[in-house]
């Protein structure tokens, strides 16, 4: 989304769904995973909207949808690409929107070659380095941002989710455009050509969706487009957890641009985030390659602040202000020690020189390269792909700190991991010293959540944490304090970054809890006079302002914790701007300039949202305008203008260097400017579209505990004939530490289960309420069987495909225990954001419980032998 529109967050907010005429929920089981937000879908339905759910399974979302479309897991780009093709070949695009608000007219460089020309690859492929030279994807006669273009891609990163930051860098505004959209090298024509293969017949062939059903979806969606109508997409990790995950979302972004559904009420793409504050943990990231506010981490070649900024900012568009954000951040880190003379302590920042993502770190643990690990609010022994690998790796650490409410599996693996039962691990031989530290829950501490729609909401301490439980803020602050005390007086240069930190938060109460309000105040920022700033437009690059995260700037404006506002909904407009605070600048619906025509008037009365008020000479409406408030629609950027001044008055996508949404991404993505269907890492089918089977850039790991099942056409592919997918149920939460420990939730879903169709049950003699063993080349797990009509076989490439559904909430601890689905999931990642493919892999299934102890290993070994995967390391496929 960052690449397409400029910011890596949901473009809209859940309440706005009620204004929609058609809602496509795809890659999410919204009713089960976001039940509270789902009320707005129900509201839209009551108002006459059509609700479509595209999901391999018929779920609680499908149960109240108007149309449920089952498809093969991992085939969404064909389905969505089919819609793109339908729109383009039937002239259903919202023409004026496409012409004016997207890069459809822009002419692309001559060097660019499409997958059409290269059988599934784009131009610039380097077979040696297994990566693209993305400079061939640039607009005609526009320079990419040189060497840094490669790093830029990191910025669309967020773990567990696709959501990144902002568009790719451009050297400037593209000089060549064809407003008639006829030029064969314009984006519009290239798009048309790229998706010409994605026909209804192809959708049927690849996704197993009958073409009539597909056409109905396309039809309804197109009918919900134009000045009077809008449609919305909702997705979550059913899209992101694929080796081409980011491109799934890109395809939806293309559809929404073509239909004119971005920046308008009832439109948009709603990324449904996971944990209460997962959005917050990418905004102020817990990621190795990002700094707060999606500023990229420094790389070795960024030798000084100047080069860091030069290689990451954009001359035109809001991103041109990156220097202000970066300097204010450095001031927040190092306070008075950061001066213009010392580059604001830029040198103190660590540099990224290799992949230090979570999964790589785990493999490094396995190798003994990583010795210690802090697990704060995470349970990888159950929740992470190839959980078995995680347990084996953690058993190789010197020390492990687990901060959690309960003794989760990641803290207890040394005595009760399944590998103890199989004999692979022996408690007395595990060197890891585990420190289990009780964490305070959100009710026991002050702080904020940033929810799925970028909305910050404050929570207050309701009761003091019990016993030794402490907040994570307490832990981080006091850990830093103690380290600084221990280093005090050190003259070692390498200790300076720590000693110079501005680490002076006031604490309160008997447990010396740091004042969370003051942390938020720092995040929001202050000026030279130590007054809270009003927002990011007030930030400066001269070191006079301090701001911990520029996108959150203004959340403490007027010295008021804006996130703690709770004006009841009935006392304000439906947009409810006085409930909490949303980034950026309390905007709820992003790019809302697009809700008006180029001339500033609303597209229609029905879809009025933000419009130009000629009398007052400013933008007005229901929300904070996502535009310079007084920039008239007829404003034309003067030659050589920079930053936002370079954006015309009729260009709504102010974060993009060219002010428009990107149908075609000339920069910012590693695996292609146009989304392209590639098969999942494990698949029983060949890619029906191209010779290139898989995403050529996907990240795979060669490891004996991470063997991949053979895919179609490879020896042994028939051994794992079924596709399985993993997901959640309403009754449990992720890795289960917070739900399997509670009787009220455990009784609602008391055992690990698998869901199969009656047809598969028949084929494999599975009995409802009985047991089944699900086998991959990693390991095998057991589950209770639910035989249900909610799953259906699909006809894919002329063959019958059965899919197996597996919730992933279970582990060895708690009131309800069971095998972990993640023991089956291999590590294979999306190249842009390093998200694991946990939504589509292959398996076999057989009736009965799995063998115990070493017999389990024997069973898996037998399968591996049949599949030609004997020995270690597992064979890697050529791509």
């Amino acid at each position: 989304m960052g690449t397409s529109f400029g910011r890596g967050g949901a473009t809209t907010f859940q309440q706005d769904l009620q204004n929609s005429d058609c809602i496509v929920i795809m890659g999410s089981n919204m009713a089960e995973c976001h039940p509270v937000g789902f009320q707005w879908v129900m509201e839209a339905k009551l108002r006459g909207a059509t609700i479509i759910h595209v999901d391999p399974r018929f779920t609680r979302t499908s149960a109240v949808a108007d149309l449920h479309v089952p498809l093969r897991a991992g085939s969404d780009i064909v389905f969505l690409g089919g819609i793109v093709n339908y729109i383009l070949s039937n002239g259903r695009e919202f023409r004026e929107y496409v012409e004016r608000y997207t890069n459809a007219p822009t002419i692309v460089a001559d060097e660019f070659q499409d997958t059409e020309d290269l059988d599934g690859l784009f131009s610039g492929w380097d077979d040696e380095r297994r990566t693209y030279d993305t400079s061939t994807w640039m607009y005609k006669d526009v320079a990419g941002i040189g060497a840094a273009a490669g790093e830029r891609e990191h910025t669309e990163t967020s773990t567990g989710h696709d959501l990144g930051s902002h568009g790719g860098g451009l050297g400037g505004r593209p000089p060549h455009r064809d407003m008639t959209l006829q030029d064969p090298r314009c984006v519009f024509q290239l798009l048309k050509k790229h998706y010409s293969r994605y026909t209804p017949e192809m959708v049927e062939e690849a996704c197993g969706v009958p073409r009539e059903m597909f056409l109905r979806v396309a039809e309804v969606l197109c009918d919900s487009s134009g000045p009077e109508r809008t449609g919305a997409f909702c997705y979550a990790v059913g899209w992101t957890q694929h080796t081409v995950g980011v491109q799934y979302i890109r395809t939806a972004a293309i559809i929404q641009q073509l239909l004119g559904n971005i920046g308008r009420p009832g439109g948009g793409i709603l990324a449904l985030r996971g944990h209460t504050s997962i959005q917050g943990s990418t905004d102020i990231p817990t990621l190795y390659d990002l700094l707060p506010g999606y500023l990229p981490m420094a790389h070795p070649e960024n030798t000084d602040l100047g080069s860091y900024i030069a290689s990451n900012s954009s001359r035109t568009g809001y991103w041109g202000n990156m220097d202000k954000y970066a300097v204010s951040l450095l001031k927040a880190y190092w306070g008075d020690a950061a001066t213009a003379e010392n580059d604001f302590c830029y040198d103190y920042l660590p540099r990224i020189n290799a992949d230090h993502s979570a999964y790589q770190s785990v493999l490094d643990m396995m190798e003994g390269k990583v010795k210690g690990y802090l697990l704060i609010g995470e349970n990888p022994a159950v929740g992470s792909s190839n959980a078995r690998l995680h347990r084996l790796a953690m058993a190789n650490l010197d020390w492990l700190v687990v901060r959690d409410f309960v003794e989760i599996e990641s803290a207890s693996f040394w005595y009760n991991a399944p590998e103890i039962e199989t004999g692979e691990l022996k408690t007395e031989e595990i060197p890891t010293e585990v420190f289990m530290m009780p964490a305070a829950a959100h009710t026991e501490k002050d702080g904020s959540f940033t929810n799925t729609q970028r909305l910050l909401q404050w929570h207050h301490t309701a009761i003091e944490p019990p016993g030794d439980a402490r907040s994570d803020l307490w832990f981080a602050y006091h850990l830093g304090r103690i380290i600084r005390e221990k280093l005090a007086g050190s003259t070692d240069e390498r200790d300076r970054p720590i000693l110079d930190l501005a680490w002076d938060y006031p604490t309160e109460g008997a447990i010396a809890e740091p004042d969370a309000h003051m942390v938020l105040r720092e995040i929001s920022g202050w000026d030279a006079q130590n007054r809270a700033v009003t927002g990011y437009t007030a930030l400066k690059a001269d070191g006079s302002t301090t701001c911990g995260c520029w996108i959150y700037s203004g959340s403490f404006a007027d010295e008021v914790n804006q996130t703690a506002r709770r004006k009841p909904g009935q006392d304000q407009t439906w947009v409810a701007p006085e409930w909490g605070w949303a980034w950026p600048a309390n905007r709820r619906l992003l790019y809302n300039r697009a809700s008006a025509r180029p001339d500033g008037s609303p597209w229609s009365e029905r879809k009025r949202y933000v419009w130009w008020n000629a009398d007052q000479e400013k933008w007005t409406g229901h929300d904070v305008p996502d535009f310079v408030a007084d920039k008239a629609p007829d404003y034309r950027a003067p030659e050589g203008a920079k930053c936002e001044d370079a954006i015309n008055g009729d260009e709504p996508f102010v974060m993009q260097a060219d002010g428009v949404a990107w149908l075609y991404a000339p920069a910012g993505l590693k695996d292609g400017p146009f989304p392209t269907h590639y098969e999942p890492q494990e698949t029983p089918f060949h890619n029906p579209l191209y010779g290139q089977e898989h995403n050529p850039l996907r990240q795979t790991y060669r490891h004996r505990f991470n063997a991949y099942n053979p895919s179609d056409g490879q020896v042994g592919s028939g051994v794992f004939p079924y596709v399985f997918t993993t997901y959640r149920v309403t009754e449990h939460h992720t890795a289960g530490g917070m739900s399997r420990t509670l009787p009220v939730l455990s009784e609602l879903q008391p055992e690990m289960f698998c869901e199969v169709s009656p047809e598969l049950a028949f084929e494999r003699s599975l009995e409802h309420n009985g047991w089944a063993t699900i086998i991959t080349s990693r390991t095998a797990i057991e589950a209770r069987v639910i035989v249900t009509d909610r799953l259906t076989p699909l006809l894919v490439q002329g063959r019958t495909l059965h899919q197996v559904g597996l919730p992933y909430h279970w582990g060895t601890n708690g009131i309800t225990t069971g095998d972990s689905a993640n023991d089956l999931v291999p590590l294979a990642l999306d190249p842009n954001v390093h998200i694991q493919e946990s939504k589509a892999a292959t398996c076999d299934i057989r009736p009965g419980r799995r063998p115990r102890g070493p017999a389990l290993l024997a069973l898996v070994e037998a399968y591996r032998r049949r599949a030609g995967l004997e020995g270690a390391p597992a064979r890697q496929d050529a791509t």
Partner: protein, 302 residues
């Protein structure tokens, strides 16, 4: 002394609170549970347990679709039913009903019949003529000023009479405790001016709480709308004052026959036949006296 048989009233929502001696009482309140918009999230079940401190009801795999708590009982006061059906809601198209696949030896025709997944949150009906309350010998069950039916846990002696009396199989004895328990319609919250916990937790307004007469109007609208939208199966259950229990305080919009949801199709409060039963008993008693007389008739002691 309380007698709780409301005489038939001509029309409108009946006012059992007044009949139970509440003067100047608040409006009768209740629930309209619209199962057509239930998403089966079970938030109601959980919220009820949390608020009312209801203990665990057994961690058992039942495999009734996604229902593993089975039915209402002493420790489950809200219960969400899940029903998977080979039937079609005409307004809905379920992809899993698409006829396809030649080589699968199963019944594609069955798939063609459509598919739907019904969910419904059940609760005590707070009957206008409540059998549980009628038969309770201790007066532990009483009619509140809101027209609801509540057990006083400090009075109930666990005689268990209310259990088979309830025509809906709602109230039950908690083995560990001896007393009976059921939904209180959050009496404590109502008195504090709050809506019941389950209704507040319901994200889709499937559970609507409010004055009963208003709810009935809403329900009428809703059912007509559904009919217009092509859901002919929609029907109200328990909204009729003239039914066997004088109308429910908590009534429902269903998409199939009540019994599919474990609801009796034509519930009748057993005390409706009380007069007949006492009369029969009197006749039997008279017979017994007559028999005695006969047995001793004739010769005196032999």
């Amino acid at each position: 002394m309380s007698v709780t048989m409301p005489p038939p009233q001509p029309s409108g929502v009946r006012d059992p609170a007044a009949l139970s001696g509440w003067a100047g009482h608040p409006e009768r309140v209740g629930f309209f549970t619209d199962t057509s918009i239930c998403i089966g999230c079970k938030a109601c079940e959980v919220a009820c347990k949390e608020w009312n401190d209801v203990p665990e009801d057994g961690i058992n795999w039942l495999g009734q679709s996604y229902d593993h708590t089975g039915e209402l009982g002493a420790s489950t006061w809200r219960h969400v039913a899940f029903i998977e059906q080979r039937a079609r809601i005409p307004a809905q198209e379920a992809g899993v009903d698409a006829p396809l696949i030649e080589d699968v030896p199963l019944t594609q025709l069955e798939r063609e019949q459509g598919f739907r997944w019904l969910m419904s949150s059940d609760v005590c009906k707070h009957c206008t003529s409540a059998a549980c309350l009628d038969v309770c010998p201790t007066g532990a069950l009483f009619r509140t000023e809101f027209g609801t039916v509540v057990v006083q846990e400090d009075v109930c002696n666990g005689c268990g009479y209310c259990v088979p009396a309830c025509p809906f199989g709602v109230i039950d004895q908690r083995k560990s405790d001896g007393r009976v328990w059921k939904c209180t319609l959050c009496y404590d919250r109502l008195r504090g001016g709050f809506e019941p916990a389950c209704a507040q937790a319901c994200p889709t307004q499937s559970i609507q709480f409010g004055p009963l007469d208003e709810l009935r109007l809403k329900a009428d609208d809703r059912v007509h709308r559904l009919h217009d939208e092509g859901v002919p199966q929609a029907r109200l259950y328990g909204h009729d004052d003239d039914d066997g229990v004088g109308g429910f305080g908590a009534f429902f919009l269903l998409l199939d026959d009540p019994e599919v949801y474990r609801l009796p199709p034509d519930p009748v409060v057993p005390t409706r036949d009380l007069k007949e039963m006492w009369t029969t008993a009197a006749k039997a008693a008279a017979t017994l006296i007559a028999a005695t007389a006969l047995a001793f008739a004739g010769r005196r002691a032999r």
